[in-house]
C-alpha cells in the first residue's frame, strides 16, 4: 500500500474541499439525496452526466445498503460519468428514511464518487474516509462541525494522517 502523498500535487483538495460540503439541506428522501449529489457533482465538474451518476448511486444502493450507524450513510458508485474521485458531504436538517445497520435514519451523507478507471491512490483516500468513520472521535467531530471549510480541512487532515500509519 502506498504510504506517501506526491510532493507537488494537491490531490486531497481535488477530492474534497469546502465547495463540496452542503451542510444544511432539506432533502426529503434517499432518492432526493442521490438526485442532489448527481446535480451538484455535475455543477462542480466532478461528473459529466448527473443522471448517469444518480442512476449508478441507486444501483449500488440496491446491491447493498450504504447506511451505517449513528445517522451516517456512505453512498458510492463506480461510474463512467465520474471525472475524478471525490467526496461530496451532505448534512440534512432532518433525518431521512434509509436502510441502516442500526435502524436509525440518516442525516449525514458522505457520497464517494469513484471513476471507472483504476487509480489506486485516490481509491485509497476514499477508503480512508470510510474506515475513519469507524473511529468515535472522528465521527463525533464530522457529525458536529458546521463550517464547510473546517469540516473539509479536518477530513483531509485525518485522511492524510492515515497515509502515514
Amino acid at each position: 500500500m502506498r504510504t506517501s502523498m506526491p510532493e507537488n500535487s494537491t490531490p486531497l483538495e481535488t477530492i474534497l474541499c469546502e465547495r463540496y460540503c452542503f451542510l444544511d439541506e432539506h432533502l426529503v428522501s434517499q432518492e432526493a439525496v442521490f438526485a442532489f449529489v448527481g446535480e451538484q457533482a455535475k455543477q462542480l465538474n466532478l461528473c459529466d452526466d448527473s443522471s448517469q451518476l444518480t442512476h449508478d448511486l441507486k444501483e449500488r444502493e440496491k446491491e447493498q445498503t450504504t447506511g451505517l450507524m449513528d445517522g451516517i450513510a456512505i453512498p458510492h458508485a463506480k461510474s463512467a460519468s465520474v471525472i475524478h474521485p471525490s467526496i461530496i458531504v451532505v448534512r440534512n436538517e432532518f433525518p431521512i428514511s434509509w436502510e441502516t445497520l442500526d435502524g436509525a435514519p440518516v442525516q449525514h451523507i458522505f457520497a464517494l464518487l469513484v471513476p471507472e478507471q483504476q487509480n489506486t491512490l485516490h481509491l485509497e483516500i476514499l477508503s480512508r474516509l470510510a474506515t475513519n468513520l469507524l473511529d468515535d472521535d472522528f465521527k463525533r467531530r464530522v457529525l458536529s462541525e458546521r463550517e464547510p471549510h473546517q469540516l473539509s480541512e479536518y477530513i483531509c487532515k485525518k485522511i492524510y494522517e492515515g497515509a502515514n500509519k
Binding site: 458510492h76 458508485a77 463506480k78 481509491l123
Partner: protein, 109 residues
C-alpha cells in the same frame, strides 16, 4: 485463535476496508491473531499466503459475493461466511460466533 479472513464488496472502496478494519480490531481485542485480506476496487490487499493458511484455525469470509482464489483454502481449514454489513456492525459478535462454531465442529470430529 489464528484467524484469516477475506473482505469483499461490490465497489470495494468503503465496506471492504471497513469490514477488514472492524474485524481486525475486534479480533485482536478478543485476543486472537488476525489477518484480513481485502478484495475490491484496489485489487487484492494483504493477500493470505500458504504460510498464513498453514497456521490458521479458520477462514472468515466477510462478503456475499464470489471470492477469488478460494482454491488456496480447499481442504485446509474450516470456512465460514458472514454478510459484510454484519461484520461492520457487530465484529466481536461475529468472531465469537465463528470461534464457537469452529470449536464445536472440532469436538465433533
Amino acid at each position: 485463535m489464528n484467524i484469516v479472513g477475506i473482505a469483499s464488496c461490490p465497489v470495494g472502496v468503503a465496506h471492504t476496508p471497513m469490514a477488514a478494519k472492524a474485524l481486525t480490531k475486534a479480533g485482536e481485542q478478543l485476543g486472537h491473531t488476525m489477518k484480513m485480506e481485502q478484495q475490491g476496487g484496489m485489487g487484492r490487499i494483504n493477500e493470505i499466503t500458504a504460510q498464513d493458511i498453514a497456521s490458521a484455525d479458520f477462514l472468515l469470509i466477510a462478503s456475499d459475493q464470489k471470492i477469488e482464489g478460494m482454491d488456496r483454502f480447499e481442504g485446509k481449514i474450516p470456512i465460514l461466511r458472514v454478510n459484510i454489513n454484519t461484520c461492520i456492525k457487530a465484529p466481536e459478535a461475529v468472531i465469537n460466533k465463528c470461534v464457537k462454531a469452529v470449536i464445536a465442529k472440532k469436538n465433533e470430529q
